[in-house]
Amino acid sequence: MDFDRRDFLRIGAAVTAGAAIGPVASAMTQVEKEGSTARRWGMVIDADKCSADCTVCVDACRTENNVPRFDDPKLDIHWIRKIAFRPKGIEGATERTFPAMCFHCEHPPCAHVCPVAATFVRPDGIVQVDKHRCIGCRYCVIACPYKARSFVAKHVEPKEGDNPKVPSRTHGVVEKCTLCAHRIDQGMQPACVEACQKKATGAMVFSDLNNPDTDASALLRTGRARQLRADLGCEPGVYYMGL
């Protein structure tokens, strides 16, 4: 035999080491903190109160979270957007609108598919992306049923007037609505909800869905609020009325 056995063994040892480290090391890490404990943050949004030409919530989010515009609809990042809807196949039906963002699902497919657990669920139900861990594989963008995620496909320079309270942006990772966790943690409402309440019609209501004494819980008890695509079983934390 004229091949160099030592060469083979050397490469073999390297491959073995590489393959062995992976599973062992990863098995030791924590995986998912699914299932809320005391609180479950959520929203109820009334489409009947949402006016078609209003973008107050969207603008507030862009300002609060420094969400840039690339002016390219295919690449633009959207944490919250207005969706216009009307029944299929009915001539002349009125078009109505509602805002949609990440619904902070109780069974979030985005977190389930994330290979490195960069997407995780906080104990209070907020689904977060650790942008220092995300490898940018975009599996979560594929798996989210609500189109709530955006991949940052372009470098973004921080600009004058950016809100310093939110982390700066890096390209190559996926991001989405954080439910303004940084505000919630200080006892405030998400920027979109606050803006809707103060500057618009108050179509958005935010609170702890586990607490029966909140506005959102009262709206849920009317029995008129429902989740989008409840059939999928993801249990979104955002409910809609008037759809």
């Binding site: 035999m1 091949f3 083979f8 073999g12 491959v15 590489g18 393959a19 992976g22 090391a25 990863s26 098995a27 890490t29 995986v31 998912e32 690339f70 609809p73 295919k74 690449l75 633009d76 990042i77 959207h78 957007r81 969706i83 216009a84 809807f85 029944p87 299929k88 949609a100 497919p109 977190a111 389930h112 598919v113 994330c114 290979p115 490195v116 657990a117 861990r133 995300c134 490898i135 940018g136 594989c137 975009r138 599996y139 963008v141 594929i142 798996a143 049923p145 609500y146 189109k147 955006s150 991949f151 940052v152 496909a153 372009k154 470098h155 390209h171 990772v173 989008l228 695509r229 999928l232």
Partner: protein, 397 residues
């Protein structure tokens, strides 16, 4: 069976140097395009927030598939007792290792953050098919490599054990790869329990096609004798695998199309999806599957080496088309946020997305082929992978 004498190729001819220089040149497209992706971001590709997975993922699952197919072929002699194929066990398993490495390169360099390549080794998510596959791919690479070592040492016992483990894990690897898509329950064109088995079937058919091509050209170029019976046998085998692929595609589409809620998805792929419908019927079904199957299963063309070779090329291209049609159209269809409603938004909700392969993605994909060709050329020059001659003792069953 007489002992097989394996030798390295001479590798001094002008042809060899031209092949190596050519493939090195093509291979260099991969790091160049990967660097562009990393530094510029994915906006230089055809990938968008509507179609986040493009050609790199297509190439990854293609290469991983061909790898699994090669590995199973390599084990035909060691595990399944088809000893007449023993002369090709080494080269097939070497190709399996080269192809899986290339497939992993295709995945990793497409990440937004390929610099975080070690992160998956330290964080694990047991519900993620990607995470599970990372383990499977590593194990597969390792076992494939050890199996190759056992083949080199002519250690029959270990070749059999490792070969069997390799076959089992190859099935796992490909079921897992199919499941990456099959488990995505919100997209009708992904969600299917048939994706894992149909990945395996296409892996086998394309792996066989690659073997036909590689053996024929290498043996001819190095002046080694290759019994035509081998090419004919592999051709028949490929034909049978293709029939299985066709059957699975048929069942999957009929089942999906039966439910009214899937009319839109099915009719998009099968009837009015523009280029995708064309790729499906002409590219995949016609040229990629029925064409080559008809060639190799017809007794006149099925015994002609030229025809079989042509069929193998068609099949290799056909499976690439199949991988493309698995990955892309499912992302073109809009997500149904409010079934029964028409929806629109600035985020292009409710609209059919568009995707076309960008220049960078072409470079990336072609570069991967260059990497495989270069590694193959190098391996047969460095180690005795190929038998001096492949003559059949008895015709294959």
């Amino acid at each position: 069976m007489a002992k097989i004498k394996y030798t390295r190729i001479e590798g001094r001819s002008g042809g060899y140097y031209a092949f190596m220089a050519g493939s090195a040149l093509v291979a260099s497209l991969l790091p160049i395009s990967a660097l562009i992706l990393f530094l510029q971001g994915h906006h230089v590709t055809g990938m968008t927030n509507q179609v986040p997975w493009g050609m790199p993922i297509v190439m990854a699952i293609y290469l991983i598939g061909v790898s699994a197919g090669s590995l199973v072929l390599s084990s035909m002699s060691t595990v399944f007792g088809k000893t007449e194929y023993k002369p090709f066990a080494r080269v097939a398993s070497m190709l399996a290792v080269v192809l899986i490495v290339a497939g992993l390169m295709a995945i990793i360099m497409d990440w937004g953050r390929p610099d975080r390549v070690l992160v998956p080794f330290f964080h694990f998510q047991p519900r993620s098919m990607f995470s599970l596959n990372a383990i499977l791919y590593n194990a597969y690479m390792l076992i494939g490599f050890l199996y190759l070592v056992a083949l080199f040492r002519e250690n029959e016992v270990w070749a059999k054990r490792l070969g069997l483990s390799a076959v089992i894990i190859a099935v796992g690897v490909h079921s897992g790869t199919g499941a990456i898509f099959g488990f995505v329950y919100v997209r009708e064109l992904y969600n299917s329990p048939l994706l894992p088995p149909s990945f395996i079937a296409a892996a086998l058919s394309s792996g066989t096609a690659l073997m036909i091509i590689v053996l024929k050209y290498t043996f001819d170029a190095t002046g080694r004798k290759l019994d035509v019976g081998y090419i004919q046998g592999l051709g028949k085998l490929m034909g049978i695998f293709i029939l299985v692929v066709l059957y699975l595609i048929f069942i999957e589409n009929v089942t999906r199309s039966y439910a009214p809620k899937n009319y839109e998805a099915s009719s998009f792929l099968l009837l009015h999806g523009g280029k995708f419908t064309f790729y499906f019927w002409v590219g995949l079904i016609g040229v990629g599957l029925v064409g080559p199957a008809a060639i190799v299963l017809n007794s006149a063309t099925g015994s002609s080496v030229r025809w079989i070779l042509a069929a193998a090329w068609l099949q290799l291209a056909g499976v690439l088309m199949e991988r493309y049609l698995i990955v892309i159209p499912a992302q073109i269809l809009p997500l149904e946020l409010l079934p029964g409603m028409e929806i629109t938004s600035v985020f292009l909700d409710g609209q059919f997305a568009t995707y076309s392969v960008s220049a960078v993605e072409w470079m990336y994909s072609i570069g991967l082929f260059g990497v495989v060709a270069f590694a193959y050329g190098l391996a047969i020059r460095l180690w005795p992978m190929l038998p001096e001659e492949a003559v059949m003792q008895e015709p294959p069953a």
